[in-house]
C-alpha cells in the first residue's frame, strides 16, 4: 500500500517537472539566502574576533617604562602573566614592525603561516632571526630577514620575534609588557618589582571597535530579514505542493488509503524535499558567501585592520542552520497543510482551494494581527529596554507589515473595483483581489525583500555618511603628532610653523562634566573645524560664538545622559557653567566630552601644557614631512600619524561594504521574484476556470494575457508602495532603536527617495518578469484547452 501510494504521489512530479523544479528551487533559494547571509556573518565575526585578539593588545593594560627582556623575565618569575611588545618602523621602509614573544603571547593571537608542516623549522627561523612575517604588499629592505607573506596581517605590518625586532631596531629595550588576564592574587605589584615602570590603562581604541560592532549587529539584522523572507518563500512553495495535488489526494483517500497513512507518506516526502533542497541551498549559500566574502574581508581588514580570512569553511553549524531553515518552513507550512489534510472529508471539493475567494474573516484576522504586532513594535521601540527589545521591535514590525499586506491590498482592490469603468477593468480588479490569498505569501516575501532592501540600503547609506563625517571630523588634518614634553612641543612648533599651512594645538584636560568624569578639549578657531565638525544640534552662529570664548560644544553622550541640548546650560566642572552651543556626534566614546574655544580653555586650565598638534599641509607633502620630522626630532613612529592616507583608504574600502550589501539586496529581491514567479506559474494552470468564462464571453487570449500582466504589476506596485514605509521604519529601528540599545548613540537616518523609487521600479520589473511566462502561456494556449473547462465529458 505504501509503495503504491507513494508511487502515485511521486508520479505527480514526473508529470509536472516544472512544479517539481519550482518547489525544489524555491526551497533551495530560501535556504541558500539564509545560509549565505549566515555564513558571511559568522565568518566575519569569527575572523574579526581572532583579529581583535591579535590586535586587541590595545584592550589590555600594559606596563610601560624603561624595560628590557630581563625585566620581562623578572615579572614572569614573580608570577605575572605578561608578554613583551616592541613596536617601531622598519628602517628604510614605512612598514610597522611588531616584535612579540611567541611563547607568552595570548594563545588566540595567531600568525597564519607559522603553523605549517614545518612548524619547528619555522619557529627556528623565527627565533633565530632568519624569518619574519609581513602583510601582503609590504616591501622590505634587503637587510631584513626573509619575509613570509601572511595575508591575515593588518596592512603594512611586519611581525618578528621580539629579540629579532630588537636587533632590527638596534635596541635592547622593549616598549611595554602587556598584562594578560589571569594573574594570581597576592603577587608583588609590578611597580614594586620593576621600579620606574608604571601600569597604563588600555588605550581607548574603542571608537572604531564600536562602529565595527554596529556593523556586525546590522549584518545580524540582515540575517534576520533573510530568514523572514526565506520562511515566506518556503511556506509558499510547500503550500503549493499540497494545493496542486488536492484531487490526487482525494482520489487516494477514496480508494481506501487511511488519512493517517496519507499524512505520514506526505510527511516522508516533505522530509525528503527538505533534505535535497536544503543541501542544495546550503551549497548555493556557500557559493554566494564565498563570492561575496572577499568584499567583506577587505572591508573589515581595510577599515579596522581586522583580520578576516579570505577563505570560507563549510561549518557544520551552517549545515544545521540550513536544514533548520528548510525544516522550519516545512514545519510551518507543511504542518498546517498536513493537519488540514488529516481532517479533510473524502468528498471535499477537489478543486484547488488556493483560488477560493478571500474570506472576510481571514482578512480581518490578518488585519488585527498586523495592527497588534505593529503596536507591539511601537511599544518595544518606545518603552523597550535592551537589545532584545530592539530585535522584538524589528521582528514585530516585519511580521506586522507582512500580515497587514493582504487586508490592505484587498481594501485597495475593493476601491479599484468600485471605481473601475468598463466590465473588463472591473473584472481585472476583482480578479486581482481574488488572487490575493493565493499570492499573499509570495507577495509578503516580496514585501519583506523590498522592505529589507529599503531598510538595509538606508541603514548602510546612513552608516556611511556618519562614518565619513566621523572620519572627516576626527581625521581632518593631514598629520597628527605628539611631543614628549613641553620643550619638544615648543621646538616642534617653531620648526613647523613656517613649513605647514597650520599647526593646530589639541589641548585636553580631564574634568567632571555634569557630575561624571569626562574630558574637555580646547579647539582653535580654524576652517578645518568649521568645515568638518557635523553638529547634531546647534544655536545660530555657533562657531563665531565659540571662537569668542562663549559657551561650549558637548558630545552626544553627554547631551543624552544629562538631557541637555543646544541652548541649555551645563556644569562642566573646572570648565565652569556654560551654555551649550552645539552637540556633536562622538561615536564609540563612552565618556562625556566638551569643547571650549582656545581662549576659554586656556583660562579654565592655565597649567595645561599642550603636547598634541594637528598639522594642515598639502596632503602630497605629508610623507616627506614625516620622514623629515622623524630624522630631525627622533620621533618614534607612534607619535606621528599620517591620518590622511588612512582615511582615504578607509573610505575607499567602505564602498566594498556597499557592493556586498547591494549584491545581497539583489539576491533577496531575485529570490522574492522567483517566489512570485513560482506562485503565478503553478497557479496559472489552476486559473483556467477563472479565465475560460471570460474568454468564452468574447475576450481574446491576448487581452487576457495582458490583463494577467497588469494584475501582477498592480499587486507588485501596491506591495512596493507599502514596502517603502516599512523599509524606512526598519531602517529607523536599526539606527535609532537597536543601535541606541546596543551602543548608546543614534545614527541619523538619511532619506534616499531616489533609491526607493528605483527600488519600486525594480519590484515592478521583477513582477513583470515573474508574470511574463504565465501570461505568455495563456496567450499561446490552444482554444481546445480552454474549451475543456466547459466540456462535461472531461
Amino acid at each position: 500500500m505504501n509503495r503504491a501510494a507513494l508511487g502515485a504521489l511521486l508520479a505527480h512530479w514526473r508529470r509536472h517537472p516544472l512544479q517539481l523544479l519550482t518547489l525544489v528551487v524555491g526551497l533551495a533559494l530560501a535556504t541558500g539566502l539564509w545560509t549565505g547571509v549566515q555564513a558571511i556573518n559568522a565568518q566575519a565575526r569569527l575572523s574579526y574576533a581572532q583579529a581583535a585578539a591579535t590586535l586587541g593588545q590595545d584592550a589590555l593594560p600594559r606596563l610601560v617604562g624603561d624595560l628590557t627582556l630581563a625585566d620581562f623575565a623578572t615579572a614572569r618569575r614573580a608570577g605575572w602573566p605578561v608578554t613583551p611588545v616592541l613596536e617601531g618602523r622598519v628602517p628604510g621602509s614605512r612598514a610597522r614592525l611588531l616584535g612579540i614573544d611567541p611563547f607568552t603571547a595570548p594563545p588566540s593571537a595567531s600568525v597564519p603561516g607559522l603553523t605549517g608542516d614545518d612548524g619547528a623549522g619555522t619557529l627556528t627561523g623565527f627565533l633565530g632571526g632568519t624569518l619574519v612575517f609581513a602583510a601582503p604588499g609590504v616591501s622590505l629592505p634587503d637587510s631584513l630577514p626573509e619575509a613570509r607573506v601572511s595575508a591575515g596581517l593588518a596592512p603594512g605590518l611586519v611581525i618578528a620575534d621580539i629579540a629579532v625586532a630588537q636587533s632590527i631596531l638596534g635596541t635592547n629595550r622593549i616598549d611595554h609588557l602587556l598584562i594578560l588576564p589571569g594573574a594570581r592574587e597576592g603577587l608583588v605589584p609590578l611597580e614594586t618589582l620593576l621600579p620606574g615602570a608604571r601600569t597604563a590603562a588600555p588605550e581607548t581604541q574603542g571608537d572604531l571597535a564600536r562602529l565595527t560592532d554596529s556593523f556586525h549587529l546590522n549584518l545580524t539584522a540582515f540575517g534576520l530579514l533573510a530568514f523572514a523572507v526565506g520562511l515566506f518563500i518556503v511556506h509558499a512553495a510547500i503550500g503549493l505542493a499540497f494545493e496542486q495535488r488536492r484531487p490526487l489526494l482525494r482520489t487516494l483517500r477514496a480508494l481506501g488509503l487511511p488519512a493517517s497513512r496519507l499524512t505520514l507518506l506526505l510527511a516522508v516526502e516533505l522530509a525528503g524535499f527538505t533534505l535535497i533542497a536544503g543541501a542544495l541551498g546550503i551549497l548555493m549559500g556557500y557559493a554566494v558567501a564565498a563570492a561575496l566574502l572577499p568584499g567583506v574581508a577587505a572591508t573589515l581588514a581595510g577599515l579596522y585592520g581586522a583580520n578576516v580570512a579570505g577563505s570560507l569553511g563549510l561549518s557544520p553549524v551552517w549545515w544545521l542552520s540550513g536544514f533548520g531553515m528548510a525544516g522550519a518552513g516545512l514545519v510551518v507550512a507543511g504542518g498546517q497543510s498536513l493537519w488540514q489534510l488529516a481532517r479533510l472529508p473524502i468528498l471535499a471539493p477537489a478543486m484547488p482551494r488556493a483560488w477560493a475567494r478571500a474570506r472576510a474573516s481571514t482578512l480581518r484576522r490578518q488585519g488585527i494581527g498586523g495592527v497588534v504586532l505593529l503596536g507591539v513594535a511601537g511599544l518595544a521601540a518606545v518603552l523597550g529596554n535592551g537589545l532584545a527589545a530592539g530585535f522584538v521591535c524589528l521582528g514585530a514590525l516585519l511580521l506586522g507589515a507582512a500580515l497587514l499586506l493582504p487586508p490592505l491590498l484587498s481594501l485597495v482592490l475593493d476601491f479599484g473595483i468600485v471605481r473601475a469603468k468598463g466590465p473588463l477593468a472591473q473584472w481585472l480588479w476583482a480578479d486581482a483581489r481574488q488572487q490575493v490569498p493565493g499570492l499573499s505569501l509570495a507577495l509578503m516575501a516580496l514585501l519583506l525583500a523590498l522592505a529589507a532592501n529599503v531598510g538595509v540600503g538606508t541603514m548602510v547609506g546612513s552608516f556611511r555618511a556618519t562614518f565619513t563625517g566621523f572620519l572627516d571630523q576626527r581625521l581632518a588634518s593631514e598629520l597628527y603628532l605628539t611631543a614628549a614634553d613641553g620643550a619638544e612641543a615648543a621646538a616642534l612648533r617653531a620648526y613647523l610653523e613656517p613649513r605647514v599651512d597650520a599647526v593646530l594645538p589639541i589641548p585636553s584636560a580631564e574634568a567632571v562634566l555634569e557630575g561624571a568624569p569626562g574630558e574637555i578639549h580646547g579647539q582653535p578657531d580654524h576652517v578645518t573645524f568649521r568645515q568638518n565638525w557635523p553638529l547634531l544640534d546647534a544655536v545660530p552662529d555657533v562657531w563665531n560664538r565659540l571662537a569668542a570664548g562663549e559657551g561650549a560644544l558637548v558630545n552626544e553622550q553627554l547631551a543624552r545622559r544629562a538631557g541637555l541640548w543646544a541652548g541649555a546650560e551645563a556644569d562642566l566642572g573646572q570648565g565652569g557653567r556654560r551654555e551649550i552651543l552645539g552637540v556633536y556626534s562622538d561615536y564609540g566614546n563612552p565618556l562625556g566630552q566638551a569643547i571650549l574655544g582656545m581662549a576659554a580653555f586656556g583660562a579654565a586650565f592655565p597649567d595645561d601644557v599642550n603636547l598634541r598638534f594637528a598639522l594642515r599641509l598639502p596632503p602630497a607633502d605629508a610623507p616627506a614631512l614625516v620622514d623629515d620630522l622623524e630624522a630631525r626630532f627622533d620621533l618614534p613612529p607612534d607619535r606621528i600619524v599620517d591620518q590622511a592616507s588612512i582615511k582615504a583608504f578607509s573610505l575607499g574600502v567602505f564602498e566594498q561594504t556597499f557592493a556586498v550589501t547591494a549584491a545581497l539586496n539583489v539576491l533577496t529581491l531575485g529570490v522574492a521574484g522567483f517566489a512570485l514567479w513560482a506562485s503565478l506559474t503553478t497557479l496559472g494552470t489552476m486559473r483556467l476556470p477563472q479565465v475560460a468564462p471570460v474568454w468564452a464571453l468574447g475576450v481574446t487570449r491576448r487581452r487576457l494575457a495582458l490583463a494577467d500582466l497588469a494584475r501582477a504589476l498592480i499587486l507588485a506596485a501596491f506591495t512596493a508602495v507599502l514596502a517603502v514605509p516599512t523599509g524606512v521604519a526598519l531602517a529607523w529601528v536599526l539606527l535609532a532603536v537597536v543601535n541606541v540599545q546596543a551602543f548608546g548613540w543614534r545614527l541619523p537616518l538619511l532619506a534616499a527617495p531616489g533609491d526607493w523609487a528605483a527600488l519600486a521600479l525594480w519590484a515592478l520589473v521583477a513582477a513583470a518578469l515573474a508574470a511574463a511566462l504565465p501570461a505568455w502561456r495563456l496567450w499561446r494556449m490552444p482554444p481546445a484547452q480552454l474549451v475543456k473547462v466547459f466540456a462535461h465529458e472531461r
Binding site: 475567494r357 476583482a430 468564452a696 464571453l697 482554444p783
Partner: protein, 220 residues
C-alpha cells in the same frame, strides 16, 4: 437564416493519431426557433456547439451566423462574435468566480457594449433578488444556472447556445430552466440551440437532430 452549418468536419489529435469527431455535419436554425441536438456521449454534439460558438475552429466546412463564416475569422473576430452575437450557457463553470451575481448578470451585455437594463428587475424575474451581492461559489447549481441564463437575457444575443444546461439539476429545477430558456429565445426573437442527451427535454423544443459518431441522423 440565423445559423447555417455546412459539411463541418473536426478531428482531435490523440495518442492513436487524429480522431475524427465530426464528419460532415450540416444544419440550419432560423431566428426565433429552438433546436435540440441529442446524441450519445462522444457523438460530437458538444464539439459542434463549441465550433458554432466560435470557441474552436472547424477543420472543414463552414459555419455562418447571419451569413458570416466564423471559420474564416481570426481570433479577434471570433471573440467579437462570442461577445456580440452569441450567448453561451454551459453545464458548469458558466460564471466568473471573482464577480458577484449582479456583476455577472451585467457582464456580458457591458462587454458587448450594450446597456444591461434593470438588473434588479431581471434578478427578480429569475428569483435571484436576495443573491445579487453573492459570489458564484455561494450559490446552488440551479441558482448559478439561472444567473447564466439571466446574463444571456441581459446581453440579448441573436443566438443562444446551451450545452447540457440542466445536466447538474434535478428534474423540477431543470424543467424550470428549460422553460426560462425557451421563453428567452421566443421573447427576444433569438435562436436557441441546445445540446442534451435527454429525449424528454428535446421534446420541449421546436425541432430535434440526433448525432451519432459525428454524423446527423434523423431524429427519432
Amino acid at each position: 437564416m440565423l445559423l447555417t452549418v455546412r459539411d463541418v468536419g473536426k478531428s482531435f489529435e490523440t495518442a492513436d493519431g487524429p480522431q475524427p469527431v465530426l464528419r460532415g455535419v450540416s444544419l440550419t436554425l432560423a431566428a426565433g426557433r429552438t433546436l435540440a441536438l441529442t446524441g450519445e456521449s462522444g457523438s460530437g454534439k458538444s464539439t459542434l456547439l463549441h465550433l458554432i460558438g466560435g470557441l474552436d475552429t472547424p477543420d472543414e466546412g463552414a459555419i455562418e451566423i447571419d451569413g458570416r463564416d466564423i471559420g474564416a475569422m481570426d481570433d479577434a473576430g471570433r471573440a467579437a462574435i462570442r461577445r456580440d452575437g452569441v450567448g453561451l450557457i454551459f453545464q458548469q463553470f458558466n460564471l466568473i468566480p471573482s464577480l458577484d451575481v449582479g456583476a455577472n448578470l451585467g457582464f456580458h451585455a457591458r462587454l458587448a457594449g450594450r446597456d444591461p437594463g434593470d438588473l434588479k428587475l431581471l434578478a427578480a424575474r429569475l428569483g435571484l433578488t436576495e443573491h445579487l451581492g453573492r459570489y458564484p461559489e455561494q450559490l446552488s447549481g440551479g441558482q448559478q444556472q439561472r444567473v447564466a441564463i439571466g446574463r444571456t437575457l441581459a446581453a440579448r444575443p441573436r443566438l443562444v447556445l446551451a450545452d447540457e444546461p440542466t445536466g447538474n439539476l434535478d428534474e423540477t429545477t431543470g424543467d424550470a430552466m428549460m422553460a426560462l430558456m425557451r421563453d428567452l429565445a421566443r421573447d427576444s426573437g433569438a435562436g436557441l440551440l441546445m445540446v442534451t442527451h435527454s429525449a424528454r427535454l428535446a421534446l420541449m423544443l421546436d425541432a430535434r437532430l440526433h448525432l451519432r459518431a459525428g454524423r446527423i441522423e434523423d431524429a427519432p
